[in-house]
């Protein structure tokens, strides 16, 4: 029984590692400038965590195999190094491991959060509400008009609550249900929640940020690959949470300009 248990642990450990090693279910491709930092951090962590996992399971299995059901008079052995050795080993090995991970990981985090958006970044506003994202581009004047929550009206498609008759800045604002961005240009995403908490997650962009009602946050990123991706909500927001999504199209600059022109005409 004990030997069978030991073998089972080893089989489970190896079987668990195979899909990771073979990339059976890989992470979505990376299309952002900062994403490789996260991916490198991820694979470094995977190597260290994976080795710890395999080592611990194997040693556990070997000890179960070797030391179970021994005769009553078998001598109780002493683990080499004893408790002191293990504590020192844990402090040195795990301590340096996690410190290294923590310190190197800071780089990836800093690249996302500790750098201001560049001056020529393209501002886009996204509003999350139950259960849709809407996007707003500032139009030719480069300014967003103010929001009037009381004026939000879905039936006449005033999703943001803009007062386009009175607010000068709102007049040329372009509101869309789909997000489009030019490739290789930094996007400054201004995030606004209409009702409850939501989240903006594009796995390919390596971007995830919660919307906080009452607190407008912003993030910035640069996409490097033309294509069509999905934006999904990752913060439980109600019954339609699973279906709250929008498309993100990354265009070349020319395609983006013509897309924006087309959207402006539709307003």
């Amino acid at each position: 029984m004990a030997k069978f248990f030991a073998v089972t642990i080893i089989v489970i450990a190896i079987a668990s590692a195979i899909p990771i090693l073979r990339h059976t279910w890989p992470a979505p491709q990376d299309i952002s400038v900062h994403g490789h930092l996260i991916d490198e951090q991820m694979s470094e962590t995977m190597a260290e965590a994976g080795l710890s996992f395999l080592a611990a399971q194997f040693i556990l299995a070997i000890f179960i195999w070797k030391f179970s059901n021994r005769p009553k008079d078998a001598k109780i052995g002493k683990f080499p190094g004893g408790a002191k050795g293990l504590v020192i080993a844990a402090f040195l090995l795990v301590g340096t491991e996690v410190l290294a991970l923590g310190i190197f990981g800071t780089r990836a985090w800093a690249s996302v959060y500790f750098t201001p958006p560049s001056a020529d970044s393209l501002p886009v506003q996204v509003q999350a509400g139950q259960f849709a994202f809407y996007f707003r581009y500032p139009g030719p004047d480069g300014k967003f008009g103010p929001l009037h929550p009381a004026m939000i009206n879905e039936s006449n498609e005033n999703f943001f609550g803009l007062d386009q008759t009175n607010d000068q800045d709102s007049k040329d604002d372009i509101v869309t249900a789909e997000m489009a961005i030019p490739v290789n240009r930094e996007i400054h995403l201004l995030m606004h929640a209409k009702d409850v908490g939501h989240s903006f997650y594009v796995p390919e962009l390596r971007v995830q940020q919660d919307f906080v009602p009452g607190l407008d946050l912003s993030i910035h990123f640069t996409a490097t690959k033309i294509g069509r991706y999905e934006i999904v909500c990752t913060q439980l927001c109600g019954l339609g949470h699973y279906n709250m999504k929008a498309y993100l199209s990354v265009y070349s600059q020319e395609d983006f300009d013509s897309w924006l022109k087309k959207q402006a005409a539709l307003q």
Binding site: M1, F5, W25, F53, F63, K75, I76, K194, P213, E230
Partner: protein
Amino acid sequence: MHDVSAHAAAHHAPPQGFIRKHVFSLDHKVIGKQYYALALVAVFVGMVLSWIMRLHLGWTNLAIPGLHFLSKTGAPGDIMTPEYYLQLMTMHGTIMVFFVLTTAPFAAFGNFFLPIQVGAEDMPFPRFNMMSFWVTFTAFLVLIASFFVGDGPTLGGWTQYAPLNAVGAVSGPGQGMGVVLWATSIAIFCVGQLLGSLNFITTTLDLRVKGMSLMRLPLTAWAWFITSCMGLTAFAVLMPACILVILDHVAGTSFFVPSNLVINDQLQPHSGGSTLLWQHLFWFFGHPEVYIAIVPGMGIVSHVLITNMRRPLLSHRVLIGCMAAIAILSYMVYGHHMFVSGMNPFSSLAFSFPTLIITIPATIIVLMWIGSLYGSRLRINTASLFALGFISMFVSGGVSGFFLAQPSIDIMLHATYFVVGHFHMVMAVAAIFGIFAGTYFWFPKMTGRMMNETLGKVHFWLSFVGTYCIFMPFHYLGIAANVRRYQAFVDEYLQPLIPVHKFITVAAIATGVAQFIFLYNLIHSRFWGKPAPDNPWEATSLEWSTPTPPPFDNFGGQHPVVYHDPYQYGVQGSTGDYVMQTSPEQVVTEHDEK
């Protein structure tokens, strides 16, 4: 003077009559069993909820026969609605975290065995102890009541993020009365656990018998003591937070609801509340809570393992120190649940490092267990199999903590199935394995009868393999960016992952069915099991020096005297390779470790 200041240990007389004996009993052993029964009911309710959810995730729009009996509106034609999925998910999480993982390893086993292990007749405040159970039971009833009130239970998840938890019925089904009942239930639950913690702490500090110094307490007693210290802090914070939610609902205050929210084109009347405030209050409770679930398991596993290894751990003190370190660190790390919540990004880093550092005491604990296996005379029985299974689970779930502790990786993995896999493995299933280990180990003492070992081993194999089949794939799904809390996967990039969900569903149902073997074994052995001797496992701690099952005042009016450290195994004793704590004989060890 001495007689008036004599300590207040419960010198109450044995109760007469069914109600005082079995229902409103002051006896810590009966209260412990009541907690166990509550957890048993709760865990099967929670498990059935997870089956329904899993079936729905594997085969969306599958008609589950009879589902419409559970809810009038949630499952027309037996097909689950999106909101009903979220409602079941919320209830699954709440029931499991509060009424299973907190009550079973801590309140149930702790109540039964802590007083016996320190040599006391009872807890010092038996009336508070009785209230603690009945208050917890009331909390459970209030939570279950939300299934039958209005449009069902809340759908906000067990974390109940603001402002979804506070804007009211307009934000979705169950968000009116459902949330109020949820918050009421949890606030009541907190009261129950605070009363329990009061008893646990005073029992450990004040009621130890002669010779039972703190370092001579068994590791289970230490684990319960540390857990009750954590619980005292955590539940005292969650309770006011729940009251604030209730006030936002019923009194129209705005603690958590900010201004200018628009739902269904209606501007909400609230103003100025802070949504992050809820997250801070909740996770200040929430992170210690996961240690409240797992630390008693660590104690139970150490206790069971040492007995079956026939040797003490490499170091008793180091294990206690590590559990205490985890308890203290648990209050400094809670912000790692909020890396992408909009909290100051510098705070994320500040929370990340203590989180990473917590792996050090956790690793040392695992190394103590594995290192102690070396050179031991390990006995394989159901209890020790579950204890060893716990170690395997705890390692598997623990290593995924490396990822989630780092804010940069959390950008990718936050709110994905990776998180679900991580916490299910490291705190849910591991803790459940701890409960199983404790059940198979202590059942003889609790009931006077042995459990069936063959059925126990079948139960173990199905549970161990099944658990890995369920929760390992969750990690793969998470790496592939599969978002959690979705009732169906409509996004294109998630389509290739649906077969994995089907596999998990099948594994979950099979593993769940295996739990009925346990239930059968438990009930059958309770009434028809083989009568148990006083010390079937040749163990040393005080609970094994009482008659089986222990009489009303545990030690028959005697006060045991403790002469030894708790785990004198691998020694040359007069009765075998162990010397009990109460035995005055001198100890000659076979090994030179202390």
